[in-house]
């Protein structure tokens, strides 16, 4: 197999960081090469250099045997290099076909030839097995399908080297599966793919080879078949990482959260949470598994007082908190790590210190007679930055400047140090790198052991399985089943998450095992 791409000793200096330090990287014809590393390790920078978005300060790039200079994306496209970004660059009101041909439209005289545009896109989508409706409006598509449009856009421009920058970060587990299938099809058609990620599971699932970057340096390249999760995690983080959370058995105490028939409707009156009842006790973690969009977000927001409850009641430590304001719920002993830290959890333009008091900003000791106590706020920030290892340890920096993992640590630090009776963690490790995941998981267990009732909502099965003491599955706004962790298997969870009934599963299991015998 020939090399289609070689990058040698690529160096890139940014004002304060050496983003790439003599990095070597190569790509074989028709392979999927995973490029992994923690946030800020330089993997996106390396690929942005290849795509002409950044100029390298040193090193050389060889594409199909020819040394090349790539100073702008146009040249990369001419070299049949395509890149799909994490944040899509699509024009939402336009159709799929219009988006795909944008910039190289097919014309008939001065007019666009819509018919041929559509047929071209159809031909392309058939050739690569990427099913899509060319006439659909992009705005109406799911995120997974929008990503497919991005891939088609690159293919339409003739790309046979395809770079995907953290393509799974925005996808649901099912969409991830679909994407992997697409990648394998592309591979079989001879496309060479660079797959940027920080999720080791994905690397193992889809790649042929894997290269690890850490702090701008290449740590090594391995054949995927010859490596494993533990080894990759250590290469990424630079030390031994505990992938399994160490925890003792739960010691459930008093009932902290009780939901009785809680129903939540959206602004259009559609039922999002349907008659949900459950309890969480002090000293235990109740995990809610489920494909995203099955009402978990609405349920959490309802408990937090951020959404109106249409029916049922919510009790926190034997107080009826239904309909309370977010502040009142918070003061009744509630902490929340929200699913979307950028939208809910942080004011990105506020300093780290100011973010660390969000929600506490009106309480002592941070305010005195309506005036901010700068000294207390600074001390608080210093303490939390140290305890939660927030990097860089600069309290005055805007939260925006921190990596995803460190931003999440701000939220976690703020919510956890209040030692709330009820702690809800919604997607607590989304977009967070391996080292920080380990840390956050340990903190969740520490909260549990200190007697907090923890409600964990996660789309990551691994996370639910390793942290929970009991697991509930949410499907279509309802709690399908609540079971002790001992009775849970990944397979069973998957079955229930996709809408299977618990009775059916047990029946299938019996007949399934009978077949095997």
């Amino acid at each position: 197999m020939g090399k289609v791409l070689e990058m040698r000793a690529i160096t890139k200096q940014f004002p304060r960081v050496l983003a790439n330090d003599k990095v070597d990287f190569d790509l074989n014809h028709g392979e999927i090469h995973a490029l992994v590393g923690e946030n800020g390790s330089g993997k996106s920078t390396l690929m942005s250099i290849l795509y002409g978005l950044y100029q390298k300060d040193g090193g050389e790039i060889i594409v199909r045997g020819q040394p090349v200079q790539i100073t702008e994306p146009r040249q990369a496209i001419d070299l049949k290099i395509g890149m799909v970004f994490q944040h899509f660059m699509l024009i939402e009101p336009l159709t799929v076909a219009e988006n795909i041909v944008l910039g190289s439209e097919i014309r008939k005289g001065p007019f666009l030839d819509h018919k041929r545009m559509v047929s071209e896109v159809e031909r392309l989508s058939e050739e690569y097995g990427l099913k899509i409706d060319p006439n659909a409006k992009v705005a109406d598509l799911s995120v997974g399908l929008q990503q497919r449009v991005e891939i088609l856009k690159a293919l339409y421009r003739g790309a046979d080297i395809l770079i995907l920058d953290e393509p799974t970060a925005v996808l649901t587990p099912q969409e991830v599966e679909d994407l992997f299938e697409v990648l394998n099809t592309l591979k079989s058609k001879g496309t060479s793919i660079v797959f940027i990620t920080h999720k080791i599971k994905e690397v193992l699932a889809v790649s042929d080879r894997v290269s690890v970057l850490r702090r701008g340096k290449k740590i090594g390249t391995k054949s995927t078949a010859e490596t494993n999760e533990q080894e990759l995690a250590e290469m990424m983080v630079g030390r031994v990482v505990l992938l399994r959370v160490e925890k003792g058995p739960a010691k459930p105490g008093r009932e902290v959260l009780r939901l009785d028939g809680v129903t939540v409707k959206d602004q259009f009156g559609h039922v999002k949470v349907n008659n949900v009842s459950l309890t969480v006790r002090s000293g235990e973690v109740l995990g809610i598994a489920g494909v995203e969009g099955n009402g978990q977000s609405e349920l959490v927001e309802a408990i937090a007082g951020l959404t109106k409850v249409a029916g049922g009641s919510i009790h926190l430590s034997n107080q009826d908190i239904t309909g309370w304001s977010p502040l009142r719920v918070r003061r009744a002993g509630f902490g929340l790590v929200p699913e979307d830290r950028h939208r809910r959890g942080l004011v990105l333009d506020y300093s780290v210190a100011d973010n660390l008091i969000l929600g506490l900003h009106g309480s002592k000791p941070f305010v005195h007679n309506g005036l901010r106590s700068e000294k207390k706020i600074a001390e608080h920030a210093e303490e939390l930055i140290r305890d939660y290892d927030i990097r860089p340890p600069v309290a005055s920096q805007p939260a925006r400047a921190l990596s995803g993992g460190n931003q999440q640590k701000i939220v976690v630090a703020r919510e956890f140090t209040q030692n709330p009776d009820l702690l809800i963690c919604s997607q607590p490790t989304r977009g967070v790198d391996v080292g920080a995941i380990e840390f956050i998981h340990q903190q969740v267990i520490a909260q549990r052991d200190q007697g907090a009732a923890v409600l964990l909502v996660s789309a990551e099965l691994d996370e639910v399985l390793s942290l929970s003491d009991r697991v509930a599955v949410m499907y279509n706004g309802e709690i399908v089943n609540v079971m002790p962790i001992e009775e849970v298997t990944e397979h069973k969870l998957g079955f229930l998450m996709l809408g299977g009934r618990p009775e059916e599963y047990d029946a299938n299991e019996v007949s399934g095992s009978a077949d095997q015998d």
Binding site: F14, P15, R16, V17, A19, N39, G40, G42, K43, S44, T45, L53, Y54, A304, L306, S325, P326, L327, R330, R331, L336, P338, R343, R344, G345, L346, V347, L348, D349, Y350, D354, L358, G359, H361, G362, V367, G370, L371, R372, E374, Q397, P398, R400, A401
Partner: protein, 347 residues
């Protein structure tokens, strides 16, 4: 990876400065067109606005109302609200101040003047609160409702000054305020009054409220990310109303200053867009109280110098309006200037 390094303070100052320089450069094309030497014209402009203590005093007098309206717009903007209604709030505040000024003629100065000022603030605050309530409770966008309220304020004061409170002269104006409610001049014969001190105090107050109080923390959080503010237990609706009220009080002070310091009576449509100029001043001043003060002084200087330029050269005073417009254009086109100055950080 793409860590955005915070813009350094000197860059913050550099951008508005570059906008001013560019505007003056383009202005000089117009000056050349009418056959004058730009250096001469700008020289006169500079000398007449900042060349002597007296000229500086005139500049400050012109700048004072803009300091208030600029601050009004900036304050609302920090809370995520675009207050286009400073003009209307200014009129209501001005009328309230004038009414106190000519109605309670027998009060001692120590009570009368503060009372008139407070009335002016209250009038503006009340008018702006209507917009705040409409936004917070009914979701009516503040740009739309403040524009509408501007019209209402204008016509309302038109009626008041021509009808029930007409002063009896042949022009549409109220009775004169009593001397006990008038602001003192500090550098006669210029009409600069103690209102300029009040503006500095207001700027300090705005700074303290926004950055040193719990209220300011909440207001700015609502402005930057209302969802996160809500999550943090902040009442978004209440803070929206408070932000508008404070903004309106500042606009009301601009009207108050014009009445108690300059006109000494409410005159029909006296403002000549001071409220709208506030938007420009806030934009140029980067919505920061210190920036607003500086921007207001710049605009005041341009206005103060324009009369002399008009008189002594063939350059019409309208050039100043063009330059002001160009400044705003370039401030708004910040990206363009960043490119020109190569302030672009990594892509």
């Amino acid at each position: 990876m793409r860590t955005k390094i915070k813009a350094l303070p000197w860059q913050e100052l550099l951008l508005p400065l570059a906008a001013v320089v560019l505007a003056l450069l383009i202005g000089s094309v117009f000056i050349l067109y009418v056959g004058e030497n730009p250096l001469t014209a700008y020289g006169i402009l500079f000398k007449e606005s900042l060349g002597s203590v007296r000229n500086i005093a005139t500049t400050l007098q012109r700048a004072t109302p803009l300091m208030f309206t600029g601050m009004a717009v900036a304050f609302a903007f920090r809370a995520g609200l675009f207050n286009i209604g400073a003009e209307g709030q200014l009129y209501i505040g001005a009328f309230a101040a004038a009414w106190v000024g000519f109605t309670f003629a027998n009060l001692p100065r120590i009570i009368h003047l503060p009372l008139a000022i407070v009335a002016g603030m209250a009038g503006g605050a009340l008018w702006a609160s209507i917009a705040g309530v409409l936004k917070a409770k009914l979701g009516v966008h503040e740009v739309i409702n403040t524009i509408m309220l501007n019209f209402i304020a204008l016509f309302l004061t038109d009626w008041l000054v021509t009808g029930p409170f007409h002063g009896g002269s042949w022009v549409p104006e109220t009775a004169r305020i009593s001397a006990s409610a008038a602001l003192s001049r500090i550098y006669p014969p210029t009409r600069l009054t103690t209102a300029v001190y009040l503006a500095v105090v207001a700027a300090a107050a705005v700074y303290l409220i926004l950055w040193k109080t719990k209220r300011g923390y909440e207001l700015r959080a609502v402005g930057l990310n209302p969802s996160a503010a809500e999550y943090g237990g902040i009442n978004v609706a209440r803070n929206t109303i408070i932000a508008m009220a404070i903004s309106g009080a500042l606009a009301g002070l601009a009207g108050t200053e014009q009445i108690l310091g300059l006109h000494n009576r409410f005159i029909l449509r006296f403002s000549s867009d001071l409220g709208f100029m506030g938007v420009a001043v806030a934009l140029l001043g980067k919505n920061h109280p210190v920036g607003v003060i500086l921007a207001a002084i710049l605009f005041g200087a341009l206005q103060a110098g324009s009369a002399a330029m008009d008189r002594l050269t063939a350059v019409p005073r309208e050039l100043i309006t063009i330059i002001q417009a160009l400044i705003i254009f370039f401030v708004a086109a910040e990206y363009l200037i960043r490119r020109m100055l190569r302030l672009k950080e990594d892509a």
